[in-house]
């Protein structure tokens, strides 16, 4: 594959607040994600992580700079991109099966084939037997599995994940992270994964981008050289290389977190 999977070049995004003031969410952000790379973005709350993601997906446009996915400049919804949202984004009026098949139906895949592939994906995320349930009948972790199947079924080359497991309890989160790793190692799409959890970022990613607090910018980029397959996330974090990296990245991240905290706390 030629070039990079995701390239963000000098991107700035400003919003107009209801009061009419200009708010700069991110300023002059530049970084790249290579094909097949798992890239995590960490930073304090309100540093524009989610904004960055919505620019890559094409849901939003940059005020300055440009975003390129698969060698093409983003203009409108990016093709071949999967997205997992932080909040529940399943269609509550559709069953598990219908939700998972949605991406295929939108891409005009025949109904029969779509249902067949959806069943296969539901089985792969361990929800066989729950095809006809509605989202509200599932637990939070199960809903995330559905969202995962729905995002992966279109076999995207690029996956964007906005704190997908942020709302889950610690144990469920660990299980989901392991399953994500397995899925990812199977088909190797490029992933842009947003989180505020540094341990999660190091355990999952090949590259960690640390962002500054608002306006968001790239502070530093770290390559994570823990070899793959890494095994379960619960065990990786006791490895010596993990601890070293954690120490190093946390030193960078801490200033930003503290600055962001001081701002919101009004200290």
């Amino acid at each position: 594959m030629a070039g990079t999977a995701i390239e963000i070049r000098n991107v700035t995004k400003r919003f107009l607040t209801p009061k009419g003031e200009v708010f700069t969410a991110i300023r002059d952000v530049t970084f790249t994600v290579e094909p097949g790379q798992f890239c995590a973005v960490v930073g304090p709350t309100g540093c524009g992580k989610s904004t960055t993601l919505s620019l890559v997906s094409g849901l939003d446009r940059p005020s300055e700079g440009s975003v390129w996915v698969g060698g093409e400049q983003v203009d409108g919804i990016t093709d071949g991109v999967g997205f997992m949202f932080q909040a529940d984004a399943l269609l509550p009026w559709k069953t598990v099966l219908q939700n998972v098949a949605l991406g295929l139906i939108f891409r005009k895949v025949g109904k029969k084939e779509a249902v067949e592939r959806a069943r296969d994906w539901i089985r792969r995320v361990g929800l066989a037997g729950f095809e006809d349930r509605y989202p509200h009948q599932l637990s939070g972790g199960m809903r995330k599995r559905v969202a995962m199947a729905a995002a992966w079924i279109t076999e995207p080359k690029v996956l964007l994940m906005d704190e997908p497991f942020g709302a889950l309890d610690v144990q469920t989160k660990a299980i989901m992270s392991n399953e994500l790793t397995q899925l990812w190692e199977g088909s190797r799409p490029s992933v842009l994964f947003i989180t505020h959890d540094l341990e999660e970022a190091i355990a999952l990613a090949d590259r960690v981008v640390v962002m500054t607090s608002s306006p968001g910018g790239v502070k530093e980029v770290f390559d994570i050289d823990i070899p793959r397959p890494r095994g379960s996330v619960q065990e990786i974090r006791f490895g010596s290389r993990f601890l070293e990296l954690h120490h190093e990245i946390w030193a960078t991240l801490r200033d930003e977190v503290e600055r962001a905290y001081a701002r919101t706390a009004g200290v």
Binding site: F85, L102, A150
Partner: protein
């Protein structure tokens, strides 16, 4: 994950079993009596749980029975009191009628027909007007509401006009419709449709506006076209609002039909009420009033059935669950 949940559920039963196994104050001797050697503890727990469930369902049925009993008593007090007070003469039955007389009048209507023809025909006329008005008002309301909900520009342009029309007491439009379209079916249908339209329209409009941003963005990223978004996201979301509005909408359709008939008609329940009023006949007014109420209740029952089918995906309200 799902397995975790299920194993949780079984340990839950186990925990109940342990608590249930020994009733407070029972001696070890009782225990050997009630639990034969070798019996699985969980099995005993299951029995105890079944017993609990049975008791809970008995309590639930008893409560239902109580509610119905109270309802019946209240109805007897109201109707019986009315009958009694008018019979004794504390309330003048010339003005306020009497339940037994109203019943006789209803019987008479069905047996001998009304002064404008057979009684079922009167009911049919009014229902026809109300149903047509309901369907037209709902259809136009949904189309307009969704269209304006999707088009911000149009919505802002039309906003003051809609507010003005909404501020008009719409019953007055009935007079205009009668002048314009005569005393046939059309003016009543129109009046009912106008009344229904505004309720459904505002709900459809709001429903479109209240679509969850996350769900919308998710559909977009999954590759939904504009049409897909409308069909799979916006319409189902607006549907919850629209269907909620239909409950009151049919009541308004009947109001439109009956008022239209009072203003001028050749048939219908509204006409019978007007004629009864002209003859100082409260029995006729009350009899028709109760028939109309019954019709509205029947249609609302049907609407509720449809609602339950269409909105099966919604979580049941917490209060529907019975504590066991």
């Amino acid at each position: 994950m799902s397995n975790d949940k299920f194993s949780d559920a079984t340990t839950g039963v186990g925990a109940v079993a342990e608590r249930e196994q020994v009733p407070p104050g029972s001696s070890p001797a009782d225990r050997t009596d009630s639990v034969p050697a070798g019996t699985d503890r969980v099995a005993v727990g299951q029995q105890a749980l079944d017993e609990r469930t049975r008791r809970a369902s008995v309590a639930f049925r008893r409560r239902k029975l109580k509610i119905w009993g109270a309802r019946l008593t209240l109805a007897v007090i109201i109707i019986g009191g009315w009958q009694l007070f008018t019979a004794v003469g504390w309330v003048d039955k010339f003005f306020y009628a009497q339940p037994s007389g109203i019943w006789n009048r209803l019987w008479d209507y069905f047996e001998n027909g009304s002064e404008f023809g057979s009684y079922p025909d009167q009911i049919k006329t009014t229902m026809q007007e109300a149903l047509y008005g309901f369907l037209i008002g709902t259809g136009v309301g949904i189309v307009m509401g969704v269209a304006l909900g999707l088009n911000r520009f149009l919505a802002e342009v039309l906003d003051p006009f809609i507010k003005v029309v909404n501020a008009i007491p719409r019953i007055v439009l009935g007079s205009i419709f009668i002048v314009a379209f005569g005393i046939g079916l059309t003016p009543k249908v129109l009046l009912a449709a106008v009344l229904v339209f505004f309720i459904v329209f505002f709900n459809a409009f709001q429903g479109v506006r209240e679509v969850d941003r996350n769900v919308l963005n998710n559909a977009k990223v999954l590759g939904a076209s504009r049409w897909h978004v409308i069909r799979h996201v916006i319409m189902p979301s607006a549907m919850t609002w629209i269907i909620a509005s239909l409950h009151s909408a049919f009541g308004f359709a009947i109001v439109g039909a009956v008022v239209g008939e009072v203003l001028g008609a050749q048939q219908g329940l509204g006409l019978l009420i007007k004629s009864a009023q002209g003859n100082f006949d409260p029995y006729g007014v009350f009899a028709n009033m109760f028939v109309i109420a019954a019709l509205v209740l029947i249609v609302e029952f049907v609407i509720e059935r449809v609602e339950r089918r269409l909105l099966a995906w919604r979580p049941k309200a917490q209060s529907d669950a019975v504590m066991v």
